[in-house]
Symmetry: C2
Subunit: 167 residues, 2 copies
Amino acid sequence: VEPTRWLDDEEQAAWRQLVAVILKLPAALERQLQRDAGLSHFEYWVMALLSEAPARTLRMSDLAGQANASLSRLSHVVSRLERHHRVTRRPDPGDARITLATLTDEGFEVVAVAAPGHVAAVRRLVFGGLDRGEVADLERVCAAILGSLDPAPSTEQRSARTRSVSD
Amino acid sequence: VEPTRWLDDEEQAAWRQLVAVILKLPAALERQLQRDAGLSHFEYWVMALLSEAPARTLRMSDLAGQANASLSRLSHVVSRLERHHRVTRRPDPGDARITLATLTDEGFEVVAVAAPGHVAAVRRLVFGGLDRGEVADLERVCAAILGSLDPAPSTEQRSARTRSVSD
DNA sequence: AAAGATTGACACGTCAATCTTA
DNA sequence: TAAGATTGACGTGTCAATCTTT
């Protein structure tokens, strides 16, 4: 087998580590949230994003964008959350094509209860072994990768970050 | 909501980026392999690992370890691969509890054909935006995270790496 | 009883098709 | 016709239960 061009040794080593992280980290977070709060990581993430939004409400499209998910995936998950009375959906009064998703009080409670344990897990699993410099490295490298990953640097989702139920 | 202790700003920023990478990178790789080779990323990874092994053969347990997967998950995937005549399974002659998985010639062909495109995608999506220093950072940080992730620093899977059909 | 592995049920993600409003 | 969103079918992953060999 002699392909176009391989990865060099450094890249190969880095790649193996990245793949391992991508395989194991999500699984670990999933287990923690499932065990301690009965939530999937994605459910938690969606509710956390809503909890930060004005009026705890977001358009499905915006929510999908902020959650890095397809509209389809989001819709399935929100259906589930709605079934559990954690989120409600209703058409936008101004443009009926748009659906607004709102976190209920009950939903907020669920995230609020789940948050401390999840944050602790993230601190332990991700940041536990990193010093300040490595945290900065992590952010820089991830940002660079995301740059290559998103062909469209169009819609900037930069905005004042409010601390709330998340992360 | 006032939990035990939050992430500081730097950690929070890094965490958001990491989550985005974890959400998007696997999806992107999956799409590429599915589209160009009809393989899932995990299937590719499993076959690539077998292609490097002596006699293209590995015990299911070892394969699961190297692939960072549960034995159950691996078993399902290998069943699928076996159905497509890409892998064969047989009990170990010495200890019949053990199952040996072997990559077939046909399976090797499949990986060999898929590899160049996949490597190119990895180069483009992951390393395209990184300079040498950032590649090193990436490896360091991932290694550190894996350290926190694996409670057991027991079994060292360090061994001479052979370049083959992978990465 | 323990190790190695497999299986089946269930939950989730993806894709393509569909529906509704603009 | 396009934008926003939903749905259903299908493949895959996970968990617990199971099976076989030691």
